[in-house]
């Protein structure tokens, strides 16, 4: 059996206005319109969302977990990016 593969799409759902779309999972569909319908049937059967995005999985570029250290560890040494790095006397109150 050598049927051509049905393209894979990633599904993002906005659960409520005011919130960002969040990745929910993936589905297979021939085109964007069918992908939206399949995403609706698969991921919003109980009122989980108000808005859907579908993106071809192949269009998403990911960072390599092997480079996690190089990419993200430098942030850990930059404590001066956090407010608690700075000293403000108690008498000054909340800042």
């Amino acid at each position: 059996m050598t049927e051509p593969a049905m393209p894979l799409w990633e599904v993002f759902i906005r659960t409520r206005n005011g919130l960002a779309h969040k990745h929910a999972g993936s589905i297979h569909a021939a085109d964007a319109e069918m992908a939206l319908q399949a995403a609706r049937d698969t991921y919003t059967r109980r009122g989980e969302g108000l808005s859907l995005w579908v993106v071809p999985s192949a269009a998403i570029v990911a960072s390599d977990p092997g480079e996690k250290g190089m990419l993200f560890e430098p942030a850990a040494t930059k404590v001066y990016r956090h407010p608690t790095f700075y000293e403000v006397p108690d008498e000054v109150g909340n800042m």
Partner: protein, 333 residues
């Protein structure tokens, strides 16, 4: 390096690590309750175990639509029909979530479906039993979904992220399944003598196969040790089975039904319900293909897949035509 979301089965090399060192580091992450995500390094056996377990689980959801689908057109009321239809749709959705989770490990859905249709993949043996009366729909919801929930709740904390996330969605949706089944049983048990006898007959036929759903006894289970070490599995087959019996027997007694097990009795000392010996010969026979409906179930799936071929072909052809038109339009502008 830029990569895609999901690995294509190639192991990303761990910088400066030999295989033993990589395996040690992997186990340390598991021991620290860290989740493993699709592109992370993982031992080949971990990947294989997950693909086997998640795809079998997906197949079970898909084949599981068949016994209940048998009663969709004959549900006794519109309320029951709407609920059963929603439940069968959920099972399909669960199959799709799980195929998607398995695909993050580098296996295609097409390949998994092919394994099911060619009999090289297994699914839960419970779905090889027939649904002879309406009461079977009650018994399936109450017992089969009840057992599935017991099995699935620990999987929400499984070490593989995409599988755990799929299980969280599934568990959230399953609880309505069990309640709708119990309500059917309750209605039958409060009905005429004939209706109550129908409920009793369903319990008699489903009870033992449901206990087998938890898998072989711990003494014989082949996959348990490594799965436990990798935190794919968190409780033993026998432990979950006992938990299920303890939860379910009082529910059955409330219905006024008798369990088909003369050895069933409450043990004050341990606080557990003791039960009789399970016929593992029957379990092995059904798993090997000798259950009452194995052939029928697979034929139904094969037929559905073949009947849908023209739809998939047409959808892809239409998408290709639209894409070509768009390219032509773009070139003309």
């Amino acid at each position: 390096m830029l990569i895609t979301m999901y690995t294509q089965g190639l192991q990303p090399a761990e910088a400066g690590a030999g295989p033993a060192e990589a395996a040690g580091r992997f186990q340390a992450r598991i021991d620290a309750e860290e989740k493993i995500e699709p592109n992370d390094w993982m031992p080949e056996a971990y990947r294989r175990t997950l693909v086997r377990q998640i795809s079998q689980h997906a197949h079970s959801e898909i084949v599981g639509m068949l016994p209940e689908g048998n009663w969709l057109t004959r549900a006794p009321s519109l309320r029951r029909k709407a609920a059963l239809l929603a439940k069968v749709q959920d099972e399909c959705g669960h199959g799709v979530y799980l195929y998607a989770a398995a695909e993050t490990l580098g296996v295609s859905r097409e390949a998994m479906v092919e394994q099911l249709l060619s009999r090289s993949a297994k699914y839960s043996s419970i779905f090889n039993y027939p649904t002879l009366t309406w009461a079977d729909i009650g018994a399936i919801g109450w017992l089969v979904d009840g057992a599935a929930i017991m099995n699935q709740i620990p999987l929400c904390r499984c070490s593989y992220g995409p599988y755990a996330r799929a299980m969280i969605r599934i568990c959230r949706e399953e609880s309505f399944h069990q309640r709708q089944g119990y309500e059917i049983m309750l209605t039958l048990c409060r009905g005429t003598a004939e209706q109550k006898a129908m409920a009793q007959d369903a319990l008699d036929r489903w009870w033992w196969p449901v206990l087998m759903m938890f898998g072989p006894p711990d003494s014989e289970s082949t996959h348990s040790d490594t799965s436990t070490r990798w935190k794919i599995k968190r409780f033993s087959n026998d432990g979950l089975r006992q938990k299920f019996v303890d939860a379910t027997v009082p529910q059955g007694l409330y219905l006024g039904l008798k369990f088909p097990d003369p050895a069933l009795r409450f043990d004050e000392a341990s606080g557990h319900w003791g039960f009789g010996a399970i016929d593992w010969e029957e379990f092995r026979r059904v798993v090997a293909g000798g259950g009452p409906c194995n052939r029928e179930r697979l034929e139904a799936r094969q037929r559905a897949h073949a009947d849908g071929a023209w739809v998939r072909e047409a959808a892809l052809a239409f998408a290709a035509k639209r894409a070509a038109e768009a390219r032509f339009q773009e070139a003309a502008e």
